[in-house]
């Protein structure tokens, strides 16, 4: 971002101009993509807009997970807890406290980030599988807590956000409105991912990923960085959950804390390329599109085929598509079998 305003002091060469242009390129492509998505909206039926909105939703979820799972290397298998907290906070804020959706949306993100900080402080001391399972336990446990507070959350029967009549604080956005809102969230999350990737903060996270002790030794406050990454990731996930809840109108604990949502985020990031900005974006668009295509064409077999695709993708592209292309271009080794050889016993 700062590069665009930087004036080279002397010796302005063509190479430097090209360098600057290359740095600006991703941002320009991003702006064009958002404009393109807005233009696309008028060409889609309402049902298609909903499908595309779901793709945007998973783009932001995958980007959010990438902050903690990709950059920092902490395999959070309970990310859906922030989604659920965001959704339920918004539902409760609108129906019990009569706040407007927009205020609830922002507060949902903040609450999710606070919760991430709260659980991050003890849990981010754990590593590897232990962290994965502890966060999974938090998400599953939170689902049960929400199910067992019927006065506040409606329990297993769900809670309905008032969208019409005197109780409605914000008019329902409709498929067109949610398309734009989810697009905005996707753009925001990609922007955050891009900014983190180029910032000192992002380098600190990558250092933690590679060797936490070494990162601490060079003066990175690892605990603070990890908790910050977790909170930022929780914030975005909370925003998405809040928007999803308002879109669905009636929400249930089983859906809002569905472990499959977490797993989808992880798969999208890993298949696209974890620790990159482009990877989660590509992974989310491809996988969600594919899943929707399979659902419409092979109703019974769709999960079966999806599972098989995941197995094959993980074996052939364990480092993700983006990382694979980068490595292959650098080393000139394009064979997928070389990939398999890497992690094989």
């Amino acid at each position: 971002m700062t590069t665009s305003t930087q004036v080279p002091q002397q010796g302005v060469t063509g190479a430097m101009h090209r360098d600057q242009a290359m740095r600006l390129l991703p941002w320009m492509v991003g702006v064009l993509a958002v404009l393109g998505a807005l233009a696309l909206q008028s060409q889609l039926f309402l049902g298609q807009q909903r499908t595309v909105a779901a793709i945007f939703m998973f783009v932001s979820l995958a980007q959010a997970w990438n902050l903690i799972g990709g950059f920092t290397g902490y395999a959070c298998f309970g990310q859906v807890v922030f989604f659920g907290i965001g959704g339920y906070f918004t539902a409760i804020a609108i129906s019990h406290w009569h706040l407007s959706f927009w205020v609830s949306l922002l507060l949902s993100g903040v609450v999710a980030a606070l919760f991430a900080t709260l659980i991050g402080l003890p849990l981010l001391r754990l590593k590897g599988h232990y962290f994965a399972i502890a966060t999974l336990g938090v998400a599953e446990g939170m689902r049960e807590v929400v199910t067992n507070l019927p006065d506040l959350t409606g329990g297993g029967a769900g809670i309905t956000i008032p969208t019409v009549g005197p109780d409605a604080t914000t008019a329902y956005l409709g498929n067109e409105g949610f398309y734009v809102l989810f697009l905005a969230l996707a753009a925001l999350s990609v922007l955050v991912g891009g900014l983190v990737a180029r910032s000192k903060f992002g380098y600190a996270l990558r250092a933690i990923h590679q060797d936490e002790d070494a990162a601490a030794a060079v003066g990175i406050n690892t605990t603070r960085m990890k908790v910050l990454a977790f909170a930022l990731s929780g914030f975005i996930t909370g925003l998405v959950g809040a928007t999803y809840a308002f879109q669905q109108v009636t929400i249930f604990p089983q859906r809002l804390f569905d472990v499959n949502i977490t797993v989808l985020m992880v798969i999208m990031v890993v298949i696209g390329g974890s620790g990159t900005v482009l990877g989660p974006l590509l992974g989310a668009v491809t996988l969600q599109f594919l899943s929707e295509f399979l659902r419409q064409n092979f109703t019974d077999l769709h999960i079966f085929i999806l599972g098989a695709i995941i197995i094959v993708a993980v074996i052939l592209l364990p480092q993700g598509a983006v990382n694979y292309v980068r490595e292959a271009r650098r080393t000139g080794e394009f064979s997928l079998l070389a990939n398999v050889r890497k992690y094989r016993l």
């Binding site: 799972g69 290397g73 395999a75 298998f77 003890p122 849990l123 001391r125 754990l126 590593k127 590897g128 599988h129 232990y130 994965a132 399972i133 502890a134 999974l136 336990g137 938090v138 599953e140 446990g141 049960e144 807590v145 199910t147 067992n148 329990g155 297993g156 472990v259 797993v263 992880v266 798969i267 890993v270 974890s274 019974d300 077999l301 999960i303 079966f304 999806l306 599972g307 098989a308 695709i309 995941i310 197995i311 993980v314 074996i315 364990p318 398999v340 890497k342 992690y343 094989r344 016993l345």
Partner: protein
């Protein structure tokens, strides 16, 4: 008091079964650092095989479970040899995702093959119960408990007393050194996974006898295995037994005294507390603590 005793007996019986569900999961995790998200699906597949044997050939489920074990051993061996061994050195997301893909395929496959209906293996004796004073002990559960505990002890004997078992332990401790001693790690890993799925299959057949099952229950068995394995300490088979019994008791007492379905949150609360306070588990040794740094 009588209600408390009844809950305690029920919890212990259930705990033994949970231990058998989890012991294979714990073994795989401890030996090759793979968290098998398809473990619950193997349990359910075992239940279906036991159920099928009973439906088609009238085979008693306590014999049918040996068929489950044999079939699942073969399936597990092949799965490890052809799929999981391909990514076993990768970062943890990779093995988690691979086994999750496997879970999707298996659960959906079972949904298509057997429908999503709840099934149970009906026997003449499983519903009966013995009266011990004021406490009733269901026969089917008692049998399942006794077998589950016996099998767990057999597994310990296998791992500690036989050459095969020792090669499994050795590979788990230091794969490089084990290979230098002439142990074929690929084979040993596949063997370990096969043993784990065979035990899951036996547990599944027993679960089918004492209760109901459907493909959708796979996820909850995987989660329960997590909780029990972490509670007991990874790769520690007595630990799985202890963890199973503790979780069984916690759930039985929770179900008795807590309102609503709060009991479901209890297991996860225990899990998180154990992870934060004592990540090596109840019976875990310092050796497994080293795994924390992997």
């Amino acid at each position: 008091m009588s209600a408390f005793l009844q809950a305690t007996v029920y919890g212990l019986l259930q705990g033994g079964l949970l231990a058998l569900v989890a012991v294979g999961f714990s073994l795989v995790w401890g030996v090759m650092n793979v968290v098998n998200l398809a473990h619950g699906a193997f349990v359910i597949l075992g239940a279906y095989i036991g159920w099928g044997m009973h439906q088609e050939f009238g085979l008693d489920p306590f014999l049918g479970m040996f068929v489950s074990a044999a079939v699942l051993f073969a399936l597990g061996y092949v799965t490890q040899r052809l799929l999981i061994n391909l990514v076993v050195n990768g970062p943890i997301f990779i093995t988690l995702l691979l086994t999750f893909g496997l879970e999707l395929v298996m659960v959906q496959g079972m949904n298509l093959a057997f429908s999503a209906d709840f099934r149970s293996i009906e026997t003449s004796y499983a519903g009966e119960s013995l009266a011990l004073g004021s406490v009733r002990v269901p026969v089917g559960r008692l049998l399942a408990f006794a077998l589950a505990v016996a099998i767990t002890f057999l597994l310990v004997a296998l791992v500690t007393r036989t050459r095969t078992g020792m090669s499994i332990m050795a590979t788990g401790m230091d794969r490089g050194a084990a290979r230098l001693m002439g142990i074929r790690a690929r084979h040993v890993y596949a063997l370990t996974f096969g043993i784990a799925t065979a035990l899951a299959g036996m547990a599944g057949a027993m679960i089918g006898t004492v209760g109901t099952f459907s493909p959708a229950a796979a996820g909850s068995f995987t989660l329960m295995s997590f909780v029990v394995a972490v509670l007991g300490g990874l790769g520690n088979m007595y630990g799985a037994l202890a963890g199973g019994l503790v979780i069984g008791l916690v759930q039985a007492w929770g179900g008795q005294y807590l309102p609503g379905t709060w009991v479901n949150a209890l297991a996860f609360l225990v899990l998180i507390i154990v992870l934060v306070v004592r990540p090596t588990g109840l019976v875990g040794k310092a050796f497994y603590a080293a795994r924390l740094e992997v």
